[in-house]
Point group: D3
Chain length 320, copies 6
């Protein structure tokens, strides 16, 4: 069922979201805490013959180890330096097994599949812990450390994501000026935030049905997990509603995205119960760079899926 704004309303939906006065300082300070330990790459046998895979351990926020797979098209299918794609994961997923996510590598890109710290026990598995603790929180990740921007879980996640991007850009077989960031749902939110926090490092952005957008509306209209973690937190901590939203304003893709400048190809699903289409448009409409959006009128959170992949293959080939 279409339960959110109509497409016409959503296309012009531009909520007046507060921008924290110290947003730039906060993120400058955060990115300064990315670790400097050089990444370790180890060749692994995935069982595939068309892709070459490396197990990557890179330094994230506070030098915490973050795990990823680097997939390269097998020799001799990768002449010279390659364009790259960093892929971030949906909520509760991880980089998975070595043979699991090789789409962009199969399409000729250097492909870095990055874990989300602490996650990776859901639809795919991860190998990265989160040493950061939290205050009282709902089960889940969305309210972990929400009592302040400094302690909020996604501070560490976004910093890790920027770190991963730079690792791929620094790889000898990669052209650092031609690296895209991509992901669906949480991965879409992270990739857009990375485009905002490291604008000069990102050549293109591919956010699908992004999460982490326009939290106040999301809390009002979302019908399924994980936004409901936030709703339950606010239902319990009736005295911390504004404090929670104040924290979230530092991480809202509909706030941060204004700082981005890379060309972008988005997607949205009009029956998406997880990431309501209005919240996706809030982010899309405020995004700072060139942008296009594919609208899937009858899809839930799966969005365009393989159809969007086809669209992205062509768009990215033309954009990078």
């Amino acid at each position: 069922m279409h339960y959110d704004l109509s497409l016409e309303e959503a296309r012009v939906y531009r909520p007046d979201l507060p921008v924290p006065g110290d947003l730039a300082e906060f993120w400058a300070g955060t990115l300064a805490r990315i670790g400097r330990t050089p990444p370790v790459l180890e060749r692994v046998e995935s069982g595939l013959v068309t892709v070459e895979t490396y197990d990557v351990t890179l330094a994230g926020f506070d030098d915490h180890p973050v795990r990823a797979w680097l997939h390269l098209p097998a020799e001799p299918l990768r002449p010279g330096v390659l364009p790259g794609v960093v892929q971030y994961q949906g909520y509760n997923g991880g980089r998975g097994l070595p043979h699991e996510h090789v789409f962009w590598a199969s399409a000729g890109y250097a492909h870095l599949v990055v874990d989300t710290r602490g996650q990776g026990s859901g639809w795919t598995t991860g190998a990265t812990g989160d040493p950061g603790g939290s205050g009282p929180a709902q089960p889940g990740f969305l309210t972990r450390g929400i009592e302040a921007p400094d302690t909020y879980y996604y501070r560490r996640v976004y910093a890790d994501a920027v770190a991963a991007l730079e690792v791929l850009r620094g790889h000898e077989r990669v052209d650092p000026s031609r690296v895209a960031v991509a992901g669906g749902s949480q991965g879409g939110g992270i990739s857009t935030s990375v485009a905002a926090l490291a604008p000069s490092s990102v050549a293109a952005v591919l956010p699908d049905v992004p999460f982490l957008c326009d939290f106040r509306r999301a809390a009002s209209v979302a019908q399924t997990e994980p936004y409901l973690e936030l709703v339950r937190y606010l239902a319990a901590h009736r005295d911390r509603v504004e404090q929670a939203f104040a924290t979230l304003s530092y991480f809202d893709v509909a706030v941060l995205g204004r700082l981005a400048s890379a060309p972008s190809l988005w997607s949205v699903a009009l029956m998406d119960l997880t990431c309501p289409p209005s919240t996706v448009f809030a982010a899309y409409n405020s995004y700072g760079g060139p942008k296009e959006i594919e609208v899937y009128a009858y899809n839930d959170h799966e969005g365009g899926d393989a159809f969007q992949r086809t669209r992205q293959l062509a768009w990215l080939a033309a954009s990078l």
Copy 2:
């Protein structure tokens, strides 16, 4: 929750399933109706660089056109003739888009991804219709034509599946003695049936959490679609219960599988609400060829997923 037989009980569960007296004749007559129109292969651009893809139209039951993708590892990654894998689809899925299912090709196999006629409007899309009609049936495919073996939907599906196998075996780049059949759920049921109906053509079988096994128990214990289509049919047609099971006995993987002889690697999930583990063991325990089974104790119908893929890569490399 574990709701079915315990693992210990399931390992020795061997229901006494009736074998139709004319089973061999029925299937001989059915396979004789596979069309003889030569397959048509057309190169398509999938957007991937590591795999080469062909749009295949092959002749199925009664010469009805059946669509498939043939994926080959890109040159020069495929020296000489290749071992092959025919992959059948889960219920309501289809061959999808050209870039969607390339796992076995990425692992070095000639890989044929075959549609299931009439299906392909679910988790992946298909391009193959089913000209066969039906008597009164539940919405869905499981009871279409169930009034007699001759009209039953899966008669046409199994015949198509054998036809597809022979098309891959007949391809110039394929070693016909080294072709495996594989699939999950409905695809697992079909691949085992193919191994039974064309035993000399199949070199290995990879059935994951197979559907279409031990229908009477399935109707008794299954908790979700699509076995519930059968339950609803039996609930409506209270006077045709035995007739329906008589038809199904020609298609039951736990009956047919005795005729198979190829080595096989199975998987089962003990919390599988869709394909109850007891029904999978009914088929496994009666399977005629060499066999191993991976047990996933805490999984629902997703079963072993990528973990089973890892296991299959090693097993198949050693078996073919």
Copy 3:
């Protein structure tokens, strides 16, 4: 819960639905394919003493056999020729057992209870198959053959329905100028379409909570089966959304009904999750003949049920 347009909004809801340019030709060609095999009537013993029942096999689309029951009030309760009612079935139902649907016969009408081909495995059973196949489709009937008007399932159903009407009109004990068509849900959609396709044969129409109306809105607001079959089809075949709606425009009761001219008594339920009230009003508001509508404010898809039956008894007695 009231989840759709308010009653005030619904009463004036007139969507601008596209009318196919060749609509008349399409239906003329379709009706021309109704078979000419004369109907066969066989007396059956229903166990009832007040109604006399015949098992009818009539020629439907492409001369396919369609089954029905003809119920007549028992002698001597039926003096002279009788007015008639053709009753079409709700989705997934059938003509049932001989004693099951005898309401209109008990009220003094010649009563023909017609199967819907391929259906009849749900709340009542049917005896009529559908030899027509389909392209890739959702489990169910609503998307069977949706790739083109010529192959769409309801083409055959509507043609069968017209055929059945003429069979009742041709019966020796029936006054052909006094025959009504009736049905709930799918049966309501079919009866209105019959009134549009055979306007000179229909003396009155009784559509209750009709299905098959204003498909685009239905896909947008319906919350339960079977409209969700369409939504899932559109979700899978993201590239065929407009093609599907183009096919449906030939079968939309809100489009066809403009061609009808018989007096009609409708009903609608404002909490109907299956056939949203707005879609019913879309059809009602565009209906071409005289019309009245009963509004059931707190009912789901059961609508007025026995209360509407009381209303219909009086209205039909006055109208025929």
Copy 4:
């Protein structure tokens, strides 16, 4: 899903249910309180021509008025005196509208359709109130007055049911020696209880999927309303569990039925979530008179429905 005892186990399931020492006295005292006000019959126009209908007000427990419809086959279809059927209603139903339940009249019987006091706001409507109050009770009827046999709701209901039986037997057009009692679910429980409480007045019993049987097991295995009313009551009144079961032992069809002697035709559904098959067999196995049972293996609470109606027509014609 089959969730209860297997059919083999159920066929021999005979729980050791306690019989209250004063059971006979209790019921003698109760039936003595049936009112003696003569019934009032008023001809109503139902809109049907094959059945003649009277609005009946009869004296129930404590002379409370109880409403019913008396349907007779229309003249001249009813020569001489007729056999009769008293039909009791399922939980939350009522006698409905005059044209609604005329099955047995259409089959040639004098047919009394009786309200259940206080109910009749569900699938059909009733016109009979319940002046009796209750102690603290769950919403619903099953725990109303459960604190003692004297105050329990079903005491009044069973007495009303016996009163209605005698009203039909006393009608001038009815043969008092050929009256059956019938009903599904709650109606099945009531009809069996009537056969036990007025054994000399009942010529045959037709209980379908009866409710009110073997309460302790029902509370343990039932998965849906209305037995869950009892479970919730016991969950709240943790200190009254035995008191509640002591009350119920006076009303348990599996206890009372031993006193019955009329021939009976039962039905049970093996996937019945409302009236678990084991509880039905508990009553059937202990029933005092001749008995047969139809088993519907794949049905939920709808049981045999029209198929059982066919069976009953033949059986009753042969039995009365």
Copy 5:
């Protein structure tokens, strides 16, 4: 999810609800039927040392016995006469066990916890029956006797509630000019009605997320029990919709509350699926006395819970 009016809309939502012409007479006549039997108080041992508890039996409507607990702060914590709080219960609850509801006594008030007749088999238990019967009704209390104001269940409940208030006011240790009425959900509705029916006896009102407000809108938007009892009643009795609403207009808190004059502190939850926020605001906006309302933006029917208790402690200390 926010599914009802926005907060801005709700704050000004003032439906035009009909006021029965004989409202005052009806209630005068009703209150005149409160029994005059003096209350009986019996000291009970609750196991608590800080609170002293009495089992109270008081005379309600038609002198029916109504049970309550009177809790007093233990000596010597209660110098002189005390302010009082009468607490009414939520739907299906009761006064519970002696140690269960002692909040207001612990805060220094004479605290009367009153049963709701016939209820008390849910989240807490009750000890008070309802000798009043009903016409055909939905399972539950909301439609019991809804056929007329005189027979409606809540007539007896509201009268009992007024009786209980006067019992507390008449206690020797209570200052009759300083007694508040309080409750959540149904208890909120009752306490506001008491403030309207006995305005000179009530010093303050504490309605939380009140039930029994603006029934027509409630029937239109409520998503869960118990308002759905009303919807199901209206769905069955399609011919009694206006009659039912006419009865309810005598009991609607949004109608009665205009007659109240005591200061009040309300609460509402914007995600309340049980008592929709718009219905609460309908009552709040029409309330006749001084008023404040706490809005809990992300809570379902639990509302402010302990947070509201904190707010009430301060407000009541300042108000009494």
Copy 6:
């Protein structure tokens, strides 16, 4: 529904659970890491007059601050030193607001209500964070750090719980030889573990429907959260099943409880979907000290609730 072992089976259910060889060392090492910072107590105004409340900050595992409320009966209701009760919280709850949990103080005990670190955003709120991080984990607390006993979340929780016990025992108004531990669900598991880890400090144990018992069976039969967190973790990390259970064996109440010696009063609910009754009996049957258990036959996870509180009041008064 009764879905687990029958009561008879459960009473003798004694699974053969592995005891880690270094269990004693592990816990000795863990308890050695409890902080030595003296507790800080600050008087707060709760609004209640019968209870005096202090905000407590005590040193937990690794000296992390843990928050609690200390409630004492108000003067002069607490002569001399008092017996004490430490109350641990159910999953996702916290110590709540100062007036929220005062039951044991109202009964005359020194009552310490302790937070569970990181939790407290559910049915009650908490104020204690968890600085400990985790590896990849399911959303929730049950799999946080499950990769090894050293990192497992409940290691810190159990240590905090022992620390809190000692704080209460060390209070000047408390008799250290008369302190009980109590709690429901997670609180029941924690209190029993505390009795095992600090046997000489615990005078009585009151575990209600305890969580954290017999994890392997719990994962097999539990039907709701939070045990399903574990099931989902095992479903994702198919390769870590035994590693996870190995970690859990250090924390299993059915393993640890053998080390306890204090008298105990347990409760279990036979329809408990959250903490299956068999798992509770596994813990109860292996408990090392004197024991009694109340069985609530028809309750879900709410168990005996206020009824059990009555039972506990009497038992504890007699036991301490």
